[in-house]
Each structure stands twice: as C-alpha cells, then as structure tokens.
C-alpha cells in the first residue's frame, strides 16, 4: 500500500461550504486526471493531498507519508498550484534556487537542480528575468519547473496546461508521460475531459464535491451510461416547462440554459418523460428540438456540467 495515494473517507468543509465530501480514492502510479467543472473540488483535493489544507474528516496518505509532515512529504512530492502569484522581486532562476535552499539543498546542488528544471520546461532564456514580467504561459512553466526541480516521485499539477500554446502543451504532455513511465505518480487536474483523456491512465470525475466516477477511462464512460439520461430541449418558455417537469416527478434535475431558450433535463425514466413532453407541446409551449445529450465522447463531461462550459 506504500506506493499509492490514499484518501479514506475524506471530507473538507470551508465553514459551511462543502469542498469535497466522503472521498475514497486510491491513486496508483501513472497519470491520473481529476476532471470536473469549476468548483467541483479538484483544487481542494490537491490541497488536501499536499497538506496545504487539513481534512475536516478522514485520512490521507501519500506513499505512506502523512500530509502534515512537510519535511518528509515534499522530499517526494512536487505541487504546482493554481495560484498565479510569486514572491516579489525574484527572477525565475532565483525563485527556484531560493526554495531549493529553503528545502535544505546546498548552493551547488540547488544551482544545478534549478537550471536542470528550467531547461526541462524550456525557459532558459527568460530565467534571469524578473517573474513579474513573465507572460501567463511562462509563469505556468516556471511553476511547473518549481514543482519538478527536486525530481519528486509524486507530481501534483493543478491545471498545468492552462495558458500554454499548442506546442508547449504537447511538450508538457510528453514531460508528464516521461515522468509516468519512470514510475512517478502524476496527478493532473482539468475541466476539459478530452484534453486529458488521451494522456491519462485513469480518470477521477468530480462533481460538486463528490467523486462521481473513477477508474480507467473506458470503465468511467460505462459507469456514466448507467447514470440518468440527459435530454436537451430547445423551446420558447423554458422556465414554464421546467416548472411543469419538476411537478410531474419524472425529472431529477433541470437546468435552464443561459440564453433562456433551452433547458437540460436529467431523468431516470426517459420513456415516461417523452410521453409527458408531448402533452406539454399540446399545452402551448413551442418546442423546437429535443435531443439526448449523452451520445458523443464528451458525454461524460456534459453529464457533469451542461453544455455552456464545454467550449473554452
């Protein structure tokens, strides 16, 4: 059990607000993607894993290490956070070097490791410039360099592909793959499933603080199929329709589309639902189109978040 990242019944509440709830996970080697829409708990899970926050309930272990012992944990773990901020006044090189020194490396060691990491993320020519003047992608890369400069066995990366151009993306993905092939745990978060489903060995799907599916990508899709059906309806009075739907008891969730011209419905009784829909049309609601929303590759993702956020 010492080569897994374990979550045992972990919950985190920010006061009243739910971060994640009753998470049981064991993450093996290779690339694992945490996927879910904004606010689903990806960052919370990563912060818990790295001890930046403490769980309200439950236990977490990273390769047998407790998360409240940073002096041990961060010899084997590197974390590139979602916070896009840096200590003031440092160049990229100084930034990496300084924190290596804080971590106990001697100056020679730190210098060497810093330059290695900077070269791995292709930032050598900008390394002696102040971070304050970096572009978004450069900041993303210097954070990545900081996470991997000490050759950790566990890499936790919060939305690491955000802000990178296509070339940089494929370079970074190659880097993750290489690390995974050397036996590392690479944990990546994303809210775009198809961005990571090609490179992931396994996926953890999160929604509003719950792990809704977990495992290898194919089995995750299978699992989703057993979930309620989703149906997309375009019509002229979505709010009236939504109210009727909820009354009828056939639906378990209704989302009104942003443009007020459509709604997404989840139901466990698709047949009963279609029958009822016909009656609605008779009652004067003008229905343009009805389409199941679960058919294509993105279905898993759409199931979680609805349409509007798929395109970025």
């Amino acid at each position: 059990m010492n080569d897994q990242i374990l979550f045992e019944n972990v919950s985190k509440f920010y006061g009243e607000i739910l971060g994640v709830n009753r998470v049981n996970l064991s993450i093996p080697r290779g690339i694992t993607s945490l996927v879910g829409p904004n606010g689903s708990g990806k960052t919370t899970l990563m912060n818990l894993m790295t001890g930046l926050i403490r769980p309200t309930r439950g236990r977490i272990q990273v390769l047998g290490c407790r998360t409240d012992e940073p002096e041990k944990l961060f010899r084997i773990l590197g974390y590139s956070t979602q916070f896009d901020s840096f200590p003031k006044g440092l160049t990229g090189y100084q930034f990496i070097y300084s924190y290596l020194r804080v971590g106990g490396r001697d100056s020679q060691d730190a210098e060497q490791l810093a330059w290695q990491a900077i070269e791995r993320v292709n930032l050598a020519e900008a390394a002696t410039r102040k971070i304050a003047g970096y572009s978004k992608g450069m900041r993303q890369r210097i954070r990545l360099a900081q996470a991997l400069c000490h050759d950790p066995r566990v890499l936790v990366l919060d939305e690491p592909l955000n802000g990178l151009d296509p070339l940089a993306r494929s370079e970074m993905i190659a880097l993750f793959r290489a690390a995974a092939e050397q036996g590392c745990h690479v944990i990546i978060s994303s809210h775009i499933l198809h961005e990571v489903d090609m490179i992931s060995d396994q996926v953890v799907l999160l929604s509003t603080g719950y792990v809704v599916a977990e495992g290898q990508i194919q089995s995750v899709r299978q699992e989703i199929l057993e979930h309620p059906a989703q149906i997309l309806i375009r019509c002229n009075r979505p709010r009236d329709l939504a109210a009727k739907m909820m009354e009828s008891g056939h639906t378990i969730e209704v989302r009104i589309h942003n443009d007020e011209r459509g709604l997404l419905i989840k139901t466990r009784d698709a047949d009963g639902f279609y029958l009822m829909l016909n009656q609605m049309a008779v009652n004067g609601i003008d229905i343009e189109s009805v389409a199941p929303a679960d058919d294509d590759v993105n279905s898993v993702y759409e199931y979680l978040i609805g349409n509007e956020e798929v395109v970025r």
Partner: protein, 371 residues
C-alpha cells in the same frame, strides 16, 4: 529517508529562510515608515544638538569678551542689593551691557528718572543676567546651559515614551505581523509550505529574520542617537560622563533594552499576526494592554513586555511637581524588578509567544480567498 525519532531542525534551512526574508523586510516599500519612525528621534536630537552648539558658541564668545575668565562660582557671588561698582569689582566689566532710562510718575506732575542696566556675563557654559536700577542690583539670574544631567533626562523620556512605546512598538508591529500575513496577502506563502521544511523551522527562520532586521534598524538608530546626544558636550564632560558617571553602562542599557524590546514585541506580534486575520484589533489590544500596565495588579503586569523593559531603563524620569497622580504613575516606575529578573521575564514572554506560534503554524492552512 524517514529518520526515526525527533527529526532535527536543520540550521541551514533556517538560514536560507532568514536570508530570503531579510531581503524582503529591509527593502519592502510598504516598510518605509518604519525607517522614518526609527530615525525621527535622531533628527530631533540632531536639531537640538545644532541649536545647543550655537548657544554654546554664543556663550563662549561672551566669556571671551569679558575682562577676565569667570567660573561658575564667580557667577554665584552677585546678590541683590549690590551696587554696580561692587559687581564690576567682582566680575569685571560685562561683555554685554544694556541701559535705558525710565520716567516714573511720582505725583500728578512730578516724574523721576530711573536708570536701568542689564549686565550679561558668561563663564562659557552658563549665563548670568544682572538687572540693576539706579545702580543697585535688583535681580541676578543665572541660566545654566544644557547640562548633561538634564539632557540625559530628556533623552530618557524620548527613549521611554517615544522610542520604546511608539517607534519600536509599531516598527515591530509592521515587520513581525507581516511575516505571515504579508505573504498571505501576496499569495506566496504556499511556496514555503510546499518545501521540505518543518513548519516550526520556517516560523523560527521568519522570526529570526524579523529580529535581525528590527535590531539592525533600531540598534543603529539608538547608537546614533547616543552619539548625537553626546556630540555637543566638550570632550572632558563627555569622558567624565562615559567613564565615571556610568555613561557607558547607561548606553549599553539603552542598546540592550532596544534589542530586548525587538525580541519581546516581535514575538508578541508574530503570534498576533498568526492568530488574527485583521491586524488592527490585536495591535490596539496590545497597545492598550501595554499602556495600562502601570495600573494593573502585579500578577497581570508580568504578562507584558513594557513592565520588564521599564525596569531596565537606566535613567529614572522624575515627574515634575504638580503632575496629576495618575500621570505620575505612568511616568514613575512604581515597582521595578531586578535586571536579571527583567531580562529573564522578556525571554520567558518571548518563548511563550513563540511556543504558541509553533502550534499555530502547524495548524495554518492556505486559504487566500477569505481575506
């Protein structure tokens, strides 16, 4: 890789934190006011120094112009009722001499002329003003120049009431409260928390950086203040003060109290900055707590910094007669403790505060959003 037992705290790591933090503290733009606070008394003393030197030069000039060199004893010999001849016989012709006539009414139509004179003598350090009317001394008034004794009380007051209670207090507030809070505002604290360093070691490193920075700023200023304070006195007066009138001990005490203040207040504000999100309330609470200290029962007094520092201040400030009792309680040191006890007291208070900080730093979470 995992060592059994208590992992030792790596001094090299603490050293790295200290270096990184020192740079941030000393060159922070939002900390400029701390330098201003530290240097204010220096500016004050320099101006005073300048003024005193000019006075001094003026007296010396008057002394040089008089017929013969005078001593302070000579100045004391002039009494009311002496004639001008007697005064001149005693002290020689005055260097400066004003005279004027007054027409004084005696009856409805009769006036008498009264001749007024004022002689100004100086022994080089003190002035003697002799007022005469009709050739008789009516008043002999000695104005002593600034003596080291009086000046050192002024110095002590500035030290206790401005430097210690305001400058160092708020300087430590600005520096130590921001050690963690500043990084939470800048959203850069997580980089430390993601390094393989014990949280306690990080806290100690930050505290030491704060201590070194405040000591560097406030000790330098205090040292310069002492130098400037002694500057305008003649070398003989200075040597007498330094080597025979515990001047050296007093100076060392001032520097020591300054360092202890940085230690004590630093630890207080470090823990306050970690326990509270809003720094204003704890700062106000500590300020009030320290201010009402003289009015507290002895047991409570001991849980403060100023109680010990006050006992260590070398020069007692006498309250001027007629001071309201409440105020004089503030000025006087009603129940001082012995120096070793006071030093130990500050160390114990600081250790207590650091212990609480070490518990708190382990519990800290990265939560930048709710600022």
């Amino acid at each position: 890789m995992t060592r059994p037992g208590l992992p030792r705290i790596d001094l090299g790591q603490i050293n790295s934190v200290v270096r990184l933090e020192m740079k941030k503290i000393l060159f922070a733009r939002r900390g400029i006011w701390i330098y201003v606070l530290a240097l204010l008394p220096l500016v004050l003393f320099t101006a005073y120094d300048f003024q005193a030197s000019r006075e001094q030069a003026r007296r010396r000039q008057i002394a040089n112009q008089s017929q013969r060199p005078l001593t302070y004893q000579d100045l004391l010999t002039v009494k009311s009722g002496m004639t001008n001849q007697e005064v001149i016989a005693l002290l020689g012709r005055p260097a400066l001499n004003f005279h004027w006539r007054e027409q004084r009414a005696q009856g409805p139509d009769s006036f008498t002329d009264v001749a007024h004179e004022r002689y100004h003598y100086s022994d080089g350090s003190n002035d003697l003003f002799v007022e005469l009317s009709d050739g008789k001394v009516t008043d002999a008034n000695i104005q002593t120049g600034n003596s080291l004794g009086e000046d050192s009380i002024v110095f002590a007051s500035v030290f206790q009431f401005f430097y210690l209670r305001l400058a160092i207090f708020f300087g430590c507030l600005g520096i130590f409260m921001n050690l963690f809070r500043g990084e939470i505002l800048d959203k850069s604290l997580h980089f430390y928390f993601l390094s393989p360093i014990r949280r306690e070691a990080l806290m100690i490193g930050k505290f030491l950086a704060g201590l070194l920075a405040t000591c560097a700023i406030f000790l330098t200023s205090e040292f310069l203040q002492i130098a400037v304070f002694l500057w305008h006195f003649s070398p003989t007066v200075r040597d007498l003060y330094l080597y025979h009138n515990h001047g050296l001990e007093d100076s060392a005490a001032y520097l020591g109290v300054t360092a202890l203040a940085c230690l004590g207040y630093g630890a207080f504000f470090l823990v306050a900055g970690m326990l509270f999100r809003n720094p204003i309330l704890p700062a106000a609470a500590i300020l009030i707590w320290e201010a009402v200290n003289p009015f507290l029962p002895t047991l409570l007094k001991q849980f403060s910094i100023i109680y010990y520092l006050k006992s260590l201040c070398p020069v007692n400030i006498p309250s001027p007669p007629g001071t309201p009792p409440l105020l004089s309680l503030l000025i006087s040191n009603s129940d001082p403790v012995a120096a070793p006890v006071a030093i130990l007291g500050v160390f114990i208070m600081a250790t207590l505060a650091l212990y609480v900080s070490s518990l708190q730093v382990r519990r800290m979470e990265i939560n930048y959003t709710s600022e």
